[in-house]
């Protein structure tokens, strides 16, 4: 098999797998998997930019995806007027104090020569700033969270269409990534990994606990949808006749149409990002990126600004992850910070990129499809396998019941095995990055 045929063949196999699910289980299930495959591919593309183009070891994908998710809430939900009236001003003052503190710290660091005095002054300013912020922040939080806590208890959003949230999610994630990059990008690979792991946990801790922002673990549900509701479709006579014309039940046709609409939107985003990513990779900029990845020292000797390039690619990759995160929240129709787990949102994406082929955009997309498919289908497969393995035990056996209960977690083992096998036997992935000469 020539390497140029590998990609198309792999994607064809993927299509066949999805078709098998469509015929075997149902098309609705197949489309659900497809939608998440598309989102996963976008996340994998973002990570591929950071790791595959530039060799940046980012283990904080979860944090950027969650920031995208919260952007969906903040853009699309209607503003809560009472909450703004109760605590809006204090919250704005908090923000002002935060800005003042940051500016004060920066100016201290610029004006005072380095030494003991500078450290002491910086700490003093930080402490004062912290006190001032708490003075405004605490009453603001209490006031906002007291407004109808069962239903709202947060500031609400801007009430704009949710499709706007996708680019905004990307921007929010990019902003956070810029800050993180400023602090952590000077670190070597292992340290950057540990630092980003920590940052993702902190972002999640904030989203879970700051109820005034997006209700924390109480979740925000009922987000705006960019596609029609199933109930509306079922109610329309035109849709009913159309469904009967192609020989489907109205109910089934409506769910499938909604999922197809999502798939179309996601595919459009994927295509746009993919085109841009490919253009960038093959531009002089992309060549410079790869040169830095392959030999940082010689690239620096050629006058390339390595730190600057790393910052760029880190921010761009994070933006792509943020877009995917916003899309995911849109698809779910709710923002649930409690469900963000590093295994699912960070390390799974890593498996996608490694298995697909780091450095190759097509590989990352394929990895996103392939790994998500296995992640979903490994659950029933694990259950089936465990059922088979324990069939010797009596049906009432407590051990069997327990093992069957845990069988769903077999997919974690499967992912580990896939990652280890891929690294061992096909370290350059399903669609390897071609060696360019």
């Amino acid at each position: 098999m020539t390497s140029s045929m590998r990609g198309p063949i792999c994607f064809a196999i993927m299509a066949v797998l999805l078709a098998i699910v469509g015929f075997g289980q149902s098309w609705s299930v197949a489309l659900s998997i497809l939608n998440l495959c598309l989102i996963s591919s976008i996340m994998a593309l973002g990570l591929n930019m950071q790791w595959g183009y530039a060799g940046l070891f980012n283990v904080g994908v979860m944090g950027f995806a969650a920031l995208g998710g919260v952007a969906a809430v903040l853009v699309s939900m209607p503003p809560i007027q009472e909450a703004w009236a109760a605590g809006g001003w204090d919250m704005l003052w908090t923000l002002a104090m935060l800005v003042v503190t940051v500016l004060a710290v920066l100016s201290v660091r610029r004006l005072v020569p380095s030494g003991g005095l500078r450290i002491a002054l910086t700490l003093l300013v930080l402490l004062c700033g912290y006190g001032l912020i708490r003075v405004f922040f605490d009453p603001a939080v209490d006031a906002i969270e007291a407004v109808n806590p069962a239903k709202t208890g947060y500031l609400g959003g801007l009430g704009l269409p949710i499709l706007l949230a996708w680019p905004v999610g990307g921007l929010v994630a990019a902003g956070a990534a810029w800050l993180i990059a400023k602090i952590a990008l000077g670190l070597r690979a292992d340290y950057l990994a540990i630092a980003t792991l920590g940052i993702a946990e902190i972002i999640l801790a904030i989203l879970k606990n700051e109820d005034w922002l997006a209700r924390g673990v109480k979740n925000v549900s009922g987000l705006d949808r960019p596609v029609p509701y199933e109930v509306e479709l079922q109610a329309s006579a035109q849709f009913e006749s159309w469904a009967h014309a192609i020989g489907m039940e109205t109910l089934e046709a409506s769910t499938i149409l909604v999922k197809l609409c999502y798939a179309g939107l996601f595919l459009a985003v994927l295509v746009v990002i993919m085109v841009l990513a490919q253009k960038a990779l093959h531009s002089p900029w992309g060549r410079m990126m790869r040169a830095i990845r392959d030999n940082e020292v010689s690239a620096e000797a050629m006058g390339k600004n390595v730190t600057r390039r790393h910052l760029e690619i880190f921010v761009i990759g994070a933006a792509v992850m943020g877009i995917a995160g916003a899309m995911l929240t849109t698809l779910d129709g709710q923002f649930t910070p409690g469900t963000y787990q590093p295994l699912r949102f960070t390390f799974l994406i890593w498996v996608m990129v490694i298995v697909g082929g780091s450095g190759n955009n097509w590989g990352a997309v394929l990895g996103g499809f392939f790994i998500w498919f296995i992640w979903i289908e490994a659950e029933p497969a694990g259950l089936w396998l465990m059922d088979f393995l324990t069939s010797g035990l009596s049906p009432e056996s407590a051990l069997r019941a327990h093992l069957l209960q845990g069988a769903a977690y077999m997919r974690l083992c499967v992912m580990g095995l896939i990652l280890l096998l891929a690294l061992r036997f096909s370290p350059r992935g399903l669609i390897p990055d071609p060696v360019r000469r």
């Binding site: 060799g55 070891f57 605490d138 602090i183 952590a184 000077g186 670190l187 070597r188 690979a189 292992d190 340290y191 990994a193 540990i194 630092a195 792991l197 920590g198 940052i199 946990e201 902190i202 801790a205 904030i206 879970k208 606990n209 787990q341 590093p342 295994l343 390390f347 890593w350 498996v351 490694i354 327990h402 093992l403 209960q405 845990g406 069988a407 977690y409 077999m410 997919r411 974690l412 083992c413 499967v414 992912m415 580990g416 095995l417 990652l419 280890l420 690294l423 061992r424 370290p427």
Partner: protein, 337 residues
């Protein structure tokens, strides 16, 4: 005077003792990470799950021992089961080394590849633990609950504030003390320990002097697996066992190892206590403490808590970043990653 004593007791009860216990658990975890780093030269992301894996076996054996009525009351039965858990953790460490890491070691792969490989191992262990024992909280502590009870302490001293020392906390501190002494003796005095230090310091020179690299690696995994199980069991007895919590412990453990100076055993121990005490002191609400110390008119109205407890990860992280920026070799001049 009594106010000051009360404040001291209060502080010991809620900061000093929990901090010591938590710090000991982190120190044991960080020792394992640092040892693997100095011998195999990579940051092992699977360490948290190795802790969970060993502890899971301790729990299963404990349950079995409890069911047949074997125990060492007032000490927890888990201590009896500890060797079995350690054996399981050692076994899986050696298996993972034989079938996974050895290949990359012989190929002289870059450290980043090792880290990604350890993520694969992490997935595997994570899945195994959840399949076998489930993702939920498990209780396995038994025996006496307290060494010092609040009421008895109050009666004995006549103070307002009571001091409680849980058996699990006392045990943690004592066991850590013994283990750390034994480990340092081993590394400093024994032949194998010296070989390990030589190997960690300069691989080529050690090989040239006839140090057997396979043996060094095996011993490193044996120690790391044992320490991980001990740390995990003590943490489980002190708080509770939940696979996800153990995964999350990875961050403070890494922070501890790096703060102390990665690859440096003393640093790992000191780092463990630094991280633990920073977490506890920053998230403790000082209101009651201050009430005992300041005149009545100065009494604070708020909780005087710098950060709410949910943000304790932020503390490890901030320490980590500050150390990496200001002194990347850590307190005790470890290696730079």
């Amino acid at each position: 005077m009594e106010g000051i004593l009360n404040a001291v007791v209060l502080f010991s009860n809620f900061v000093l003792i929990p901090g010591m216990a938590y710090g000991s658990q982190l120190a044991l975890g960080a020792l394992g990470v640092t040892l693997i780093y100095s011998i195999l030269r990579f940051a092992n992301f699977a360490h948290g799950d190795l802790m969970a894996f060993g502890t899971m076996f301790v729990i299963l054996i404990t349950w079995w021992l409890q069911s047949i009525g074997v125990g060492i009351d007032p000490l927890p039965t888990a201590l009896l089961a500890l060797p079995f858990g350690m054996a399981a953790a050692i076994a899986i460490s050696l298996l993972s080394d034989r079938f996974v890491y050895r290949f990359y070691r012989r190929n002289k792969s870059p450290a980043v590849i090792f880290v990604i490989v350890s993520i694969g191992v992490m997935f595997l262990m994570n899945g195994l633990v959840r399949v076998i024992i489930g993702p939920n909280d498990q209780e396995f502590g038994d025996g006496a609950r307290f060494l010092i009870k609040v009421r008895e302490f109050k009666e004995a001293t006549g103070l307002n504030e009571g001091l409680a020392l849980k058996l699990s906390q006392g045990l943690t501190i004592a066991v850590t003390f013994v283990v750390v002494i034994a480990l340092f003796w081993f590394l400093q005095k024994s032949r194998t320990g010296k070989a390990m230090r030589a190997y960690s310091d300069n691989e080529d020179l050690a090989l040239l002097s006839g140090v057997n690299p396979d043996k060094v690696v095996i011993v490193a995994w044996v120690i790391a697996g044992s320490l991980a199980t001990i740390a995990g069991t003590l943490y489980g007895l002190d708080k509770s066992f939940k696979p996800f919590t153990y995964f999350q412990l990875l961050l403070p453990i890494f922070a501890a190892a790096i703060v102390g100076g990665i690859g440096h055993p003393v640093g790992a121990v000191v780092g463990g206590y630094v991280v633990a005490f920073s977490e506890v002191t920053v998230t403790y609400a000082y209101k009651k403490f201050l009430i005992y110390l300041v005149p009545e008119s100065w009494e604070p109205e708020s909780l005087v808590q710098l950060l709410s407890t949910e943000y304790k990860f932020a503390v490890s992280f901030v320490i980590l970043v500050v150390v990496l920026l200001v002194r990347p070799t850590g307190i005790f001049k470890g290696k730079v990653l």
